[in-house]
Symmetry: C2
Subunit: 544 residues, 2 copies
Amino acid sequence: MRSTMMKTPLLISRILQHGSTVHGDSEVATWTGEGARHTTYAEVGREAARLAHALRELGVTGDERVGTLMWNNAEHLVAYLAVPSMGAVLHTLNLRLFPEQLIYIANHAEDRVVIVDSTLIPLLAGVLPHLSTVRHIVVCGAGDTSKLQKDGVEVHRWDELLQGRPETYEWPDIDEDDAAALCYTSGTTGNPKGVAYSHRSIYLHSMEVCMAESFGLGPLVRDLCIVPMFHAMAWGLPYAALMSGASLIMPDRFLQAEPLAKMIEVEKPTFAGAVPTIFTDLLAYLDAHPTDTSSLREVVIGGSACPPALMHAYADRYGIQVIHAWGMTEMSPLGSVARAPLGVEGPEAWAYRYTQGRIPASVEGRIVGPMGEVMPNDGKAVGELQVRGPWITAQYIGEDGPDPDKFDNGWLRTGDVGTLTPNGYLTLTDRAKDVIKSGGEWISSVDLENALMAHPAVLEACVVGVPDDKWGERPLATVVLKDGASTDADELREFLAGKVARWQLPERWSFIEAVPKTSVGKFDKKRVRADYAGGTLEVVQING
Amino acid sequence: MRSTMMKTPLLISRILQHGSTVHGDSEVATWTGEGARHTTYAEVGREAARLAHALRELGVTGDERVGTLMWNNAEHLVAYLAVPSMGAVLHTLNLRLFPEQLIYIANHAEDRVVIVDSTLIPLLAGVLPHLSTVRHIVVCGAGDTSKLQKDGVEVHRWDELLQGRPETYEWPDIDEDDAAALCYTSGTTGNPKGVAYSHRSIYLHSMEVCMAESFGLGPLVRDLCIVPMFHAMAWGLPYAALMSGASLIMPDRFLQAEPLAKMIEVEKPTFAGAVPTIFTDLLAYLDAHPTDTSSLREVVIGGSACPPALMHAYADRYGIQVIHAWGMTEMSPLGSVARAPLGVEGPEAWAYRYTQGRIPASVEGRIVGPMGEVMPNDGKAVGELQVRGPWITAQYIGEDGPDPDKFDNGWLRTGDVGTLTPNGYLTLTDRAKDVIKSGGEWISSVDLENALMAHPAVLEACVVGVPDDKWGERPLATVVLKDGASTDADELREFLAGKVARWQLPERWSFIEAVPKTSVGKFDKKRVRADYAGGTLEVVQING
């Protein structure tokens, strides 16, 4: 039996039309260094219409791609709304990529137009000679454009290009499953891989961001949107803001603690979203420079795990609740939000808040063990997390089908290893590539590291899997002792014995001067494994 | 360009699976008269599986209809979830309909099974001889079933039927556009008309109910669900509760003020949804019987306009915020929610809260004037409200296509007349059939009535449109004076002149003993028009 319901498609143009009329008074504040320039969603709607007319005149038709190389600002928001609404496809270029990656993704996506902040002209100028499909560049803001010279490429000024154009646009009917926006992940190996969000996936994801259990965006929220619009669609916050009437405070390129503190004091956000490092820096600044942060009640932190100490510091000193969240570019990106359940308080509530969070109805999760078996969601069984749902990608752009290394029969393999409790809380412990596969069981390298680092003599401990004839892999513990401290492998092994299962205890131990680190300060486990394989580590062998 | 996103359908089985696992500890409390019986969503999930197995055994296949003649209770919730999840279609039978209407809708929907609360056996027994498609009756609760006798109809007990059946069910893949549930409107004329909600429409509507701007359901909410599950799907609250983990407090048949007060005191809801009359009765009870209502913070009132005095009384005396909302069975039903915008306080905020509310992104609204012209959303232009969106019906069940009296080129004609402000607030003044069409302009009968009733001598005023040779229609004012008061048509016309536009002033006046009323106490305007046409009213004619 067919339903009698309207077949109204879920489109970004609906978000734009709603936001720019019903919430026409809500505002976007873009930081300028000194203060903020303000505009309303009504004006954003008019500007989106002007941009769409301008892009049509530049020849953008069908589903051609329009790239943005921009910070978080009002013009980027206009592009977010106008480009998909006109049927074209937005491609947010991640300005933190290496130049060769930037070139790769712009060519792979076949970007025809690039909109660029004038402060990012040097970056664009450096890669422009290698961009094979770009025909137009639109520059936002004042600044010398003379470096943007290439045969067959026209350079325009945003203000001049949009001036005098109509303030309304007949947004076309679009299939909700058509691509609306592209985002490429910055994989550490190989070329970046892209996903194409649909109008439907963005619309549904925006509703989720407005749900009370998730971020609760609504007309009473002022969102300091620190998480960059060039990365994972700024967690969907810009679209959710237009959908719900939440105002946006955009930091532009001013992402240091001092200007962020000023933005909080002046623009009075109630809510913010950011990665942990920015909020670590901000905490130090606030502690040293008294700032009125009273408007700010909730900060969602994601991107990487948030140190519990940071969460407590904000709660205790500033009355700001840090909410932990987890997601992936492949997931639009919202995967889980860590709020404690009803009736749980004190340390138990904090234990829930330290997790990666609870999955919503539209994100189905399962834990898959080393042999590909689906394991129970009992909070104990450790395996790779797999997810599926209407805003999760089924494959990467341009690939013939789902890559079995990344997808498993309709599920996305997240590449993260952890547990899922019966009540839907996710704890991720390892990247799948770092977990130790020993005799058909998995050993968490991170669990062993944390247990070791609790020993008073240990400064740092890095555990990696190394080949073992009998078990496939076994853990190798590399340990850095504190200055003047002394212990040995036997003692540390005994210390661990009370904390992890006996079969997980490492047989191989190495005492080193320092753990090699990556450029972003994480343990470089690839290097440790290579050192072991190359025989440059001095290893003590203990058999249990 | 096609997106790479998963084609995961939006299904009620996903809501069921999520609610019964991730929110397995959330609970349903069903009032028994003495106290509540409690069960968890985990158990609701198991019971839903048992019911699905049982219905399959009774021969329910494909999209066959399963009717429910039930109050709000845990078993009704189980049916809400199990029936659509198994691919069958839930038909909530409105127990307040006249028997002939009940017979009509059960036969029209071709209900094969009816699940009935034992307290409603007398009602079902009365209509059973005329139900032509029903083959099975499932009785919930103890009680004599001997009256449910009909050839070809088997009677089962819920508990016995479900006992020992598997606690899981392989919920089938379903097209999200397939029908999930049917609801018939109880029109005052002609047969009831049905709409068929889809899995998609119910899923999207559930997300909306969880959005902060709407009802904000989430795991911290305990929802006293007074609005009946047999009417407009209880505003989508049951599905939204499972989706978000909000607990449900179900009054069963105990809808009087005293048991409701007890439920509030004992079960500690944070939120409730109901029609105004119930909350009017409850207020009187609370004023006379001190009750601990401290848990209850927000009550959504819809179904008919909520008197401002009631909203203020709850806010002032009990700290309970009454939130006005508006919708229709044809709209799943959520159409608008009246929360004041950011930064607005005091009387201005209350003015927003008195309106029918603000439309969300998924409900597009427009005002259409007497000549079919689309009018501006300026808060002034008065016309019929038309709406469209993904949870609004495009036609009625069994009709060849959209009836032009009810639909206008893809828009639902709500039959309500009013205004829409630029920021999306809706004020409804009249039913379209009661508005007075005078010379291509519309006159609100309700505005004239309210203005007249502000005169100290006037007890009641009922204004209807009557035929006029020159203008098509003109207003007739019928007035009931207060005991001992005296005035005349000239004075009342002058009194009105300062309050409404001159051309709206009635020429025809009639002083009557009492305004005829319908069975539910509303002005019977049909009867007043008939009295005028029949010449039984004494009319004074004044020409302006």
